[in-house]
Amino acid sequence: MSYLRIVWRGLLFLTKRNSTSSWFVLLVLFQPLIFATIAFYMFKSGGQEGTLLYAALGAGMMGIWSATLFGSGGLIQWWRWEGTLELAVGAPPPFFFVLLPAALSNSIIGAYSLAATLAWGRLAYGIPLQFEHPFAFALALAATVLSLGLMGLLLASSFVLYRHANALMNLLEYPVWVVTGLIFPIALLPAWAQPISWPLAPRWGIESIRDAAFGGPGMWWEVGLTLFLGLVYAAGAFLFLRLFERLARARATLALT
């Protein structure tokens, strides 16, 4: 029960704090709008006006991934800079439960991106926001946000030991957008590149969201896969954190930047 309380209270506190952070809000609101605008113009230039909702969903998911990547990837580094990493690691509960709410709050804030791109599409481009299965859409979105939060936790856990986390964050933004087909069909990629996305939750998350929005057949299976991957990430993060925390303590590298 106390662990649940840590996660819940941490989630509330950090979501509120991140919501008041100007840089985080700029990142999750305006950057996706820029990419959504580019995609809208490109799809309109290509005479594919019917795909604008597809572009809005994709640009929103790109924003969720960016928020997860930079929020969770940068978490350990910021705690290092702020001098609070040792305190967080030294607190009585397992570090996993200290980090979990922070990672989840990042992906929850990231969901603002999707709201922003859908609103932008509706207001600026008149895209009709008609979803085939609104309830399933909400469920798919919740599953995706949860799973991406857990993926962020896995990323953050590996950064306990990795001092150049910022560079790895820069490395992963565009590549994940590409290989998971967030804004274009994954079938466009070469055949050899498509399996790279299988273990990545954003791929199944966006497919479940699209299927819920447009009425595709595989939605429930994709939601299940998204959640399953989330559990795998959580288990991996739990193991990594135990291992890396012990190594960082033994090598006295926890606070080194």
């Binding site: 700029l26 490395l171 565009y174 957008w177």
Partner: protein, 261 residues
């Protein structure tokens, strides 16, 4: 002699100290892999949208990527000093400010040109885009001019960094805005007039137009007016950014807000 030392040695030391980009763990993900994937991302988006060719996106994004080091490194010139707690001593020194900041811009310009070339070559190889061999020397000149212009634009980032602590977020948005307004991924003809007008006043737009014409067979002489326009835009931003830097430096001294901005 002191000014020459500040310009060359100071610029080089600042580049190595602040950006860490000579460390392969930073350089390769940020300035090699990331840029190439940006080219791939927009090329595949273009294929999905059925707009333009892969060559359009390779040239467009490679040129725009000059802004990555240009904008970010010049911003780090200020924010990095603040993180290192050396901003105060730096601005307390009697060093000539123009020499100080121009010296920092020189390696950044070279870095910007290198990123362009990396994105160009990486994107072209992966997407099987070919360009006439005869166009390459002229393209190199265009890349150099765009890199200089983007570094000039970066002076504005440095000034913003003096006033705003989270300047890097704004710089991210400025960088992304170049993707919309400069004809990088959207043909300029498809944009409304006001967006085209904004693009005319931004770096990359004219350099990119020159690069596309050269790839289509134009000579350097044919695009000289575009190159001059690109350099003029960069010089204007550098002048405004420098003036702003000096003004905000004085304001920060008056308000004792150098470290707390």
């Amino acid at each position: 002699m002191t000014n020459l030392r500040i310009f060359f040695v100071g610029g080089l030391i600042s580049y190595r100290a602040l950006f860490n980009w000579l460390n392969p763990w930073i350089f390769v993900p940020t300035l090699v892999v990331g840029p190439i994937f940006q080219v791939l991302f927009f090329a595949y988006l273009g294929r999905a949208a059925g707009v333009e060719s892969d060559r359009f996106y390779v040239i467009g994004n490679a040129l725009q990527l000059a802004a990555l080091p240009g904008l970010f490194a010049m911003t780090f010139t200020i924010t990095g000093e603040r993180y290192s707690q050396t901003l105060g001593p730096l601005l307390a020194s009697p060093a000539n400010r123009a020499v100080l900041f121009l010296g920092r811009a020189l390696p950044v310009s070279a870095n910007a040109a290198a990123v362009c070339v990396i994105a160009f070559v990486g994107g072209a190889v992966l997407l099987h885009v070919t360009l006439p061999a005869a166009s390459l020397p002229a393209l190199a000149v265009v890349i150099a001019a765009t890199a200089v212009s983007c570094t000039g634009f970066g002076f504005l980032g440095g000034a913003i960094g003096l006033r705003i602590r989270d300047a890097i977020v704004l710089i991210n948005l400025l960088d992304a805005a170049l993707l919309i307004f400069c004809g990088v991924n959207i043909p300029l003809e498809s944009l409304p007039d006001w967006m085209r007008a904004v693009g005319e006043a931004l770096p990359v737009t004219h350099g990119l137009a020159a690069a596309r014409e050269i790839a289509d067979g134009a000579t350097l002489g044919d695009v000289s007016h575009l190159l001059l326009a690109e350099l003029a835009v960069g010089a204007a931003y550098a002048a405004v950014g420098y003036a702003l830097l000096r003004y905000l430096e004085q304001a920060a001294r008056r308000n004792a807000s150098l470290e707390t901005a």
